[in-house]
C-alpha cells in the first residue's frame, strides 16, 4: 500500500504557487498568457533542481507527470512538462528550451517520475533531444537506423511525407 503522507489537501492558486516557487529559484519566468495553467520557464541547468523541489516539497507535491512533449520552436528546441499534484490537484506547466539544434541536451527526470522513461525516449526519437542520465536512451518507434528526426520543422522526406 505504501506510506500515506499526511497532507492537508490545499489547492494553491497560481499566484501562491508563483510566489512559493520564485522563492526557491529567482531566475524563473512566469506567465499565464495564452494558456489555462501557470507556465514556468526554466533554464536547462536548473531544470533538475526545480523539478525535484516541485515534487518533494509538501506544499506543492507535484507527483504526477502527465504529459511530456517536445516542441520545435523554429529557432529553439524545447520540452514541455505538464505536472499535477494528486493530493492538492493543482497543475503547472514547466518549459525548457535550448537554441543548440546540433546537440540539444537536457537532464532526464526519470529519477523523479518513472513515467519519463518512455516519454523521453519518444522525444529523443522524434526531435533528437538527448537526456542526461537516462537509463536506456534509444529510439522508441522508428527503427534504429532511421536518419533524421521527423517531428522537427525542418525535416524533409520526399518519399514518406505528403505535403498539401
Amino acid at each position: 500500500m505504501g506510506l500515506m503522507k499526511d497532507y492537508k489537501t490545499e489547492f494553491m492558486t497560481n499566484e501562491a504557487l508563483q510566489n512559493l516557487i520564485n522563492s526557491w529559484i529567482p531566475e524563473l519566468e512566469f506567465t499565464e498568457e495564452g494558456s489555462q495553467f501557470l507556465n514556468i520557464k526554466v533554464k536547462p541547468e536548473q531544470l533538475h533542481q526545480l523539478m525535484s523541489q516541485l515534487k518533494s516539497n509538501p506544499e506543492t507535491n507535484f507527483d504526477y507527470l502527465f504529459c511530456l512533449s517536445g516542441v520545435d520552436y523554429e529557432k529553439e528546441l524545447g520540452v514541455v512538462y505538464h505536472i499535477e499534484s494528486t493530493t492538492h490537484r493543482h497543475i503547472v506547466v514547466v518549459k525548457v528550451q535550448t537554441e543548440d539544434r546540433e546537440n540539444p541536451t537536457f537532464d532526464s527526470v526519470y529519477d523523479i517520475w518513472k513515467t519519463a522513461e518512455f516519454h523521453e525516449r519518444e522525444v529523443f526519437d522524434f526531435f533528437g533531444i538527448i537526456f542526461n542520465n537516462h537509463p536506456n536512451l534509444k529510439r522508441l518507434f522508428l527503427t534504429e537506423d532511421w536518419d533524421g528526426f521527423p517531428l522537427r520543422k525542418d525535416y524533409v522526406d520526399e518519399i514518406n511525407m505528403v505535403i498539401k
Binding site: 507527483d63 512533449s69 505538464h82 494528486t86 518513472k114
Partner: protein, 373 residues
C-alpha cells in the same frame, strides 16, 4: 531492436524469447522481448512502433475538422471519446457555448462506448487465461451496442459523430428506446458474467496476487484509468476535471486497493455498472435544442496553448495543442493512456511466470494503435 546486445548481456541459464508481433495474447502488433530463466521472467522490454502512422505529424498539416477523423484510429475501441477530446479542446479554445443537448448526448454515447470497450476487454481477457467461451459472450453484447451506433452515427467502429461545435446529425428517433432496452438486457447479463469468470476458483488463483502495483508506483509511472484505480489511486478525470454533462450526474468512482490483477479486473466490472447508472440518469431527459453551434468553415484557434483531458476506457487521454493562430495546429500532442500503462509492464511482470505476464497484460488493457499513434 538489437537482439545481439540482449543475448550478450544475460547469464548462461537465461534464454531469450520473442513474443509477437503477431500473437494471440498481445492485443495488437506489440513485440515483447522476454529474458527468461526457466519459467521466471527476468526482463520484459516492449518493442513499439509496428503501427506508428505519424498521426502527430499529419495533424500539423490538416485542418481541425480533419484531425477529428484521425483520432478514431488511435484507440479504436473508445473512438467516440477520442473525438470528443479534440472537439472539446477546439471548443474551449474558441470559447464556444455548447448547447446542453449536445453535452448530454455526448455523455450518453461516451458511456455506451465505455461499456462496449469493457465488454470486448472482458471477452478477450477470458480467452487469454484460457476460458475460450467468454469471447463469444462479450462480442454478443458488444454487437448490440454497435447496432445502436450504426443507426445513429452510421458506423460501428470509427464513429466520427462529433465535430468541433457539436454533433454531425441528430440522434435517430429509435435511439432512446434501443438504449433503454440494451441497459435492461445487459443488467441481466453482467451478473452471469460475474459468476462465470469472477467466481471461478481457477480464475481467482490466476489473478490474485499477480502483477502487484503499489499506489506510489502507479502515480510515478503515470498510470491512469482502471490500472491506477486498481491500486487505490483516484484518477478518474470524470470526477476531478469534469467535461460535457458529467458534472450533472452522480456516480461512484470504482476504487480497489490491492493493486493486483484481480483488483483491476473488478474495477472494470464495477465501471460497467457505473456507466449504466450514468446512462439511466440522462437518457430520459435529453434536453431539446440545437445540435450544432455555427463555426467558421476554416477554424483558426487563437494564439496560445490548450490542453484537455478526457477519460477513455483505457485511462486519461490528453490533447495538447500549441497554436500560432493559423488554420493548422503548430504542434499537437496526444498523451495516450496506453503509453504510460505499458511502461509499467516491466515493473509488474519481473519475477513472475509467463502465465502471469499474460494475465497482467490482459488487465492492463492496452490497444497498440493508441500507444504507437
Amino acid at each position: 531492436m538489437d537482439t545481439t546486445t540482449i543475448k550478450n548481456s544475460f547469464k548462461s541459464e537465461e534464454y531469450f524469447i520473442n513474443m509477437g508481433p503477431q500473437h494471440p495474447a498481445t492485443h495488437g502488433v506489440l513485440r515483447l522481448l522476454l529474458t527468461i530463466d526457466g519459467e521466471i521472467i527476468k526482463k520484459v522490454e516492449p518493442d513499439l512502433g509496428y503501427i506508428h502512422r505519424s498521426i502527430e505529424k499529419m495533424c500539423e498539416r490538416d485542418s481541425y475538422q480533419q484531425i477529428v477523423h484521425l483520432t478514431d484510429r488511435m484507440d479504436y475501441l473508445s473512438s467516440h471519446i477520442n473525438n470528443e477530446a479534440v472537439c472539446l479542446t477546439v471548443e474551449n479554445a474558441l470559447q464556444l457555448e455548447i448547447p446542453d443537448r449536445v453535452k448530454v448526448i455526448r455523455t450518453i454515447i461516451g458511456e455506451l462506448t465505455r461499456i462496449a470497450s469493457h465488454t470486448l476487454w472482458w471477452g478477450v481477457m477470458g480467452m487469454d487465461v484460457g476460458a475460450l467461451t467468454t469471447y463469444f459472450y462479450g462480442f454478443r453484447d458488444r454487437e448490440l451496442i454497435n447496432d445502436i451506433f450504426e443507426e445513429t452515427c452510421g458506423a460501428r467502429l470509427t464513429m466520427n459523430y462529433n465535430i468541433p461545435g457539436g454533433l454531425m446529425f441528430d440522434i435517430h428517433p429509435n435511439f432512446v428506446k434501443r438504449t433503454k432496452d440494451f441497459i435492461a438486457h445487459f443488467k441481466t447479463k453482467l451478473p452471469e458474467y460475474d459468476t462465470l469468470l469472477t467466481g471461478n476458483v481457477i480464475f481467482q488463483k490466476r489473478m490474485k496476487g499477480v502483477g502487484i502495483l503499489t499506489k506510489e508506483d502507479a502515480i510515478s509511472f503515470g498510470a491512469s484509468g482502471p490500472v491506477g484505480r486498481g491500486s487505490g489511486y483516484s484518477c478518474d478525470v470524470r470526477k476531478h476535471h469534469p467535461y460535457s454533462a458529467l458534472d450533472k450526474v452522480t456516480f461512484k468512482e470504482a476504487l480497489k486497493t490491492e493493486g493486483d490483477s484481480l483488483a483491476r479486473y473488478e474495477v472494470r466490472i464495477q465501471e460497467m455498472w457505473e456507466s449504466m447508472s450514468i446512462i439511466e440518469q440522462l437518457i430520459d431527459n435529453i434536453p431539446e435544442g440545437d445540435i450544432q453551434v455555427a463555426t467558421n468553415a476554416v477554424i483558426k484557434l487563437p494564439k496560445g496553448e490548450f490542453y484537455q483531458k478526457v477519460e477513455t476506457a483505457r485511462g486519461e487521454l490528453g490533447v495538447y495543442i500549441v497554436s500560432t493562430g493559423t488554420k493548422n495546429p503548430y504542434r499537437l500532442k496526444f498523451r495516450s493512456p496506453g503509453f504510460s500503462n505499458i511502461s509499467l509492464l516491466n515493473h509488474i511482470a519481473v519475477g513472475g511466470k509467463i502465465g502471469d505476464l499474460v494475465a497482467s497484460m490482459a488487465t492492463l488493457d492496452i490497444v497498440v494503435p493508441d500507444i504507437d499513434r
